[in-house]
């Protein structure tokens, strides 16, 4: 299986994703520069974390204008699996491929630590191999991860089964004290209505080898491989 990893000026988790896909899972990965449009042959697309365009204007706002994002939108419309991690999630929000927006963290601080997230649903791309309700320990590293939605839309999102991950405690308990950034409904990841586009703030690629303290993130990449293998 081949993953396309999109690179913007300021992407910095692109090689981490490639490492997990090629060295840990033994699959293929290729980088796609943001000025290119060619996603032919890719079975899945990853928009990695980083600080595309220095986060100028708003995180992800400038990246949405890149030529490659037109191809990503087309790929997504065709049902192809797309995963946006951290800045990649912010870009997908700015593009309108996912609902909502990001605010500065409630603390106003850059938060970099391991957190727990609960898989609310497993219908989304990259989550098919998880158990519903599974608790994953995965690191976050962001200043703008305070997810927000217009008034009343959280209930609609939940009703459509689009909340994929929520911040929780080690045994899956959900509450204010486990929420690192103030997100509405403690949301850590959402998918589009069809389920093939997933955005999440935690970094699964940083939790895919025992040496890094957790292997819980590997299940996401493996899920994508299994889904393509059918």
């Amino acid at each position: 299986m081949e993953f396309a990893i999109v690179r913007f000026p300021g992407s910095n988790c692109d090689r981490d994703c490639e490492h997990v896909i090629t060295r840990v899972l033994g699959e293929r990965a290729r980088f796609v520069w943001h000025q290119d449009r060619d996603l032919a042959g890719a079975d899945a697309v990853i928009i990695p974390g980083g600080f595309s365009y220095g986060d100028y204007l708003r995180a992800g706002a400038v990246a949405k204008l890149s030529p490659v994002m037109e191809s990503v939108a087309e790929f997504a419309r065709g049902g192809g699996p797309v995963l946006g991690i951290c800045n990649g999630f912010q870009i997908l929000l700015e593009c309108g491929l996912l609902p909502g927006a990001m605010l500065r963290n409630r603390s106003l601080e850059f938060v970099c630590k391991h957190v727990h997230v609960r898989a609310v649903t497993t219908r989304a791309a990259f989550t098919g191999g998880l158990d519903a309700g599974a608790v994953l320990r995965i690191p976050i590293a962001h200043a703008e991860g305070n997810y927000t939605l217009p008034e009343g839309q959280l209930d609609e999102l939940r009703a459509r089964d689009q909340v994929v991950f929520e911040y929780c405690g080690p045994s899956g308990q959900v509450g204010e004290s486990f929420d690192p950034n103030g997100s509405i409904g403690h949301v850590a990841g959402v998918c589009n209505e069809a389920g093939n586009v997933l955005g999440m703030m935690p970094h699964p690629e940083r939790a895919s080898e025992a040496a890094l303290g957790s292997t819980d993130g590997l299940a996401l990449f493996r899920s994508a491989v299994d889904a393509v293998a059918g």
Binding site: L65, L103, N105
Partner: protein, 81 residues
């Protein structure tokens, strides 16, 4: 050329963490009477347009790129030379 000043602020009801922190800073300085602080941003453009054409251009730039309508509101003014 017309200079346009676009003022972007967080939407009513959207949590403004920066405003809260600035307010508490003012309180620490002894300005207890500040009921509310909102922090936004200013973008100045120089445009070769006037009147309705200018207003249309600014509106389309804001909705396509400069403003995120989920969390932000904007207004703009023409800066007199």
């Amino acid at each position: 050329m017309t200079t346009v000043r676009i003022l972007i602020s967080s939407k009513e009801g959207v949590f403004d963490p920066e405003g809260k922190v600035v307010q508490s800073g003012l309180e620490r300085l002894g300005y207890a009477g500040v009921a509310r602080v909102r922090v936004g941003k200013v973008i100045e453009l120089e445009l070769d347009a006037t009147g309705d054409e200018l207003a249309d251009q600014v509106a389309s730039m804001c909705s396509a790129f400069l403003v995120n309508p989920v969390i932000e509101d904007y207004s703009f003014e023409v800066v007199e030379a």
